[in-house]
């Protein structure tokens, strides 16, 4: 006991300690905290610290608070704290951990809700993985990449038919608040479970309300998709540093599957909040503000993140990481700073409009402003064959419909085009949590676009669709299972076309006006 120690014993201890000193291992570089506040600590010393290196700050009660270095100035280091700044005080000693930030990665994370450092938030047992992945990591180079050619079915007809997404693609979901952005992302995750695609979902909640995350977890449990999902959650009360790290650490978790010949889907919900968190950190680190007070590297912030989503070559295992970043706009303004950045980084965008949402057209996807730049090659043959004219038809319909409001004297061709457009619009309405399989999409779109439902009133199109799908599944289950493989092109002489049209016409008879 310390109280029993005499001076001579202490002296002996001291000599023993000096003799036993493991010199090389114990001499460490130290700095001191000069000031701290708002989650940022300024550190003097530690000249050997690297960018993004982890610092260990001695807390008031002997505990250690972690931080990572973001500003390396001539005289001091700006470090962002990964925990509360309450126990950090000026004068506290700072040492280097000797690593840059990393997180646990691997299949052990599936079905878990974790924070950006990989700590469980779901009350479950501690996560023990055999591997760790770097939070900041360079993206795969040119040679390691292959073009996007496999479909990532969302189960949402208007997306799969008009703006197809391929595995390894980055497709932005953009729109105002309350337009169904997250709903699209959740449906896509659910579809991976329902269609048994084997795709691993990684959902990153950046500053989302915890109640919303809890609802999502419950839903994924109900849908039994949680077993193939990792949720990286940060709430509004978490420090900005964690919000900033969340998408990077989730990407590291997704990359594990990509690099192990598997397919993963990552949803960043949403990057607007991420940019805001980064702006807060940058301003506190006294970096010069630029447009909308964002720092100069806000483009690089997102480009380096999204570049990590890729389709790998066969030599690297042919795995993929598909990204669905979400951006929230203000009053439909897609020309704001962060939206334009992310639009230019991604391989296309799905634009959701408030007006369409309020008209009851859900998902409220704007056919004119949405685009998929690389997904065409990834679309299944059957969906491609029925959906090729869908986008053009819908865009023309919207144009004609607005023109037709000025007068009622329209020629027959225009009238029929408007009516078909109305039927297609009605058909593409889809309830949440009801993703459609490939055969359901093909049969529905083909029946309407070939005019089998022309005699059915617009208000009964969904009934007709339901009846058609029920009949096809009851009478031609094996054919539909075959059709779901997506390899068959649907043309007027194919057997599936005949099956669908026959069933559609007989269904339509019962629903005519």
């Amino acid at each position: 006991m310390a109280t029993d120690l005499s001076i001579s014993e202490l002296s002996k201890d001291l000599r023993d300690a000096i003799e036993k000193l493991d010199v090389a291992g114990d001499i460490e570089t130290v700095g001191i905290v000069t000031r701290v506040g708002d989650g940022v600590a300024w550190v003097h010393g530690l000249r050997s610290a690297g960018y993004s290196e982890v610092l260990l700050i001695e807390g008031a009660n002997g505990e250690t608070v972690e931080a990572f270095a973001l500003n390396l100035n001539e005289d001091e280091i700006g470090a962002v704290l990964l925990g509360s700044d309450e126990s950090v005080h000026a004068g506290a000693k700072v040492t280097l951990k000797g690593t840059i930030l990393d997180v646990p990665v691997g299949p052990e994370l599936l079905g878990r809700v974790v924070d950006p450092l990989g700590n469980p938030l779901d009350g479950g047992p501690a996560i023990k993985t055999t591997q760790r992945g770097l939070i900041e990591r360079e993206a795969v180079g040119v040679i390691g990449r292959k073009h996007v050619h496999e479909p990532m079915m969302t189960g949402i007809m208007s997306i799969d038919a008009m703006f197809p997404i391929g595995r390894g693609q980055r497709e932005l979901i953009i729109g105002d608040r309350q337009t169904g952005k997250t709903a699209i992302a959740i449906d896509t995750m659910i579809n991976q479970g329902r269609q048994k695609t084997g795709v691993v979902n990684v959902y990153v909640a950046i500053g989302q309300k915890l109640s919303k995350i809890a609802r999502l977890v419950e839903r994924l449990k109900e849908e039994r998709v949680i077993e193939q999902t990792i949720i990286v959650a940060t709430g509004p009360s978490d420090p900005a540093s964690l919000l900033y790290l969340a998408p990077y650490s989730a990407t590291a978790m997704g990359e594990y599957f990509r690099d192990n010949a598997q397919h993963a889907l990552i949803i960043y919900d949403d990057l607007t909040k991420h940019a805001v968190a980064y702006r807060q950190m940058s301003l506190l680190l006294r970096r010069p503000p630029g447009r909308e007070a964002f720092p100069g590297d806000v483009f690089y912030l997102h480009s380096r993140l999204l570049e990590r989503s890729a389709k790998l070559t066969d030599e690297l295992g042919a795995g993929s990481l598909t990204a669905l970043p979400i951006i929230e706009t203000q009053a439909g303004d897609i020309s704001a700073y962060v939206p334009t950045n992310v639009i230019s980084i991604t391989d296309g965008q799905i634009f959701l409009e408030t007006d369409l949402f309020n008209q009851g057209i859900r998902p409220a996807i704007s056919a004119g402003l949405s685009v998929s730049r690389v997904g065409g090659d990834a679309q299944t043959k059957s969906v491609k064959s029925v959906g090729s004219h869908l986008k053009l038809g819908l865009s023309q319909y919207r144009e004609l419909a607005s023109f037709a409001q000025f007068g009622s004297d329209l020629d027959e061709a225009t009238k029929s085009q408007i009516e078909k457009g109305q039927r297609l619009t009605e058909l593409l309405k889809q309830h949440q949590y009801q993703p459609a399989s490939i055969w359901e999409q093909v049969a529905s779109i083909y029946a309407v676009s070939e005019g089998a439902f022309d005699a059915v009133p617009v208000s009964k199109i969904k009934d007709a669709q339901f009846a058609l799908l029920t009949r096809l599944w009851t009478d031609h289950k094996k054919d539909m299972q075959e059709l779901t493989k997506g390899n068959e092109k649907i043309s007027s002489d194919s057997k599936y076309a005949k099956l669908i049209l026959d069933a559609a016409k007989s269904v339509a008879k019962g629903l005519e006006e």
Partner: protein
């Protein structure tokens, strides 16, 4: 005039000390003139680092009790061999809170072989 960094001030000061010239008064006058007296402690730390690069080591040694001459000699030898120092100067501090062992702080580095730190490490690792 652009503000001189602390590192540059420290480097100049250390260079003069190593050359045997004392410019402490000039440095003090500069800090007062530039209203940077608040940075004096940090400049001192930087100067110690700059001096260490020139083979002059200034160390702070903390132990629970007074060091014996034997221990002092051992520490001096240790510092000169392990920190590549030609001249070693040190300040002794006695702090019963360290319980046992010794802590050496010199030129932005630290060697903490105190019992207090070991106990804290044990506490943190929850053994």
């Amino acid at each position: 005039m652009a503000k001189l960094s602390r590192r540059k001030i420290a480097d100049v000061w250390a260079g003069e000390i190593a050359a045997g010239r004392d410019i402490t008064h000039q440095v003090a006058a500069y800090l007062v003139d530039e209203r940077r007296t608040g940075e004096a402690d940090l400049i001192m730390r930087d100067t110690e680092v700059a001096l260490a690069r020139r083979g002059i080591l200034v160390a702070d040694i903390t132990s629970a009790s007074q060091l014996t001459s034997e221990t002092r000699h051992a520490l001096e030898k240790f510092l000169s061999t392990n920190m590549d120092a030609e001249q070693v100067a040190y300040r002794e501090h006695t702090d019963p809170h360290v319980i046992g062992g010794v802590r050496i702080e010199a030129a932005g580095t630290q060697l903490d072989a105190t019992l207090r730190t070991r106990l804290n490490q044990l506490k943190a690792s929850k053994i």
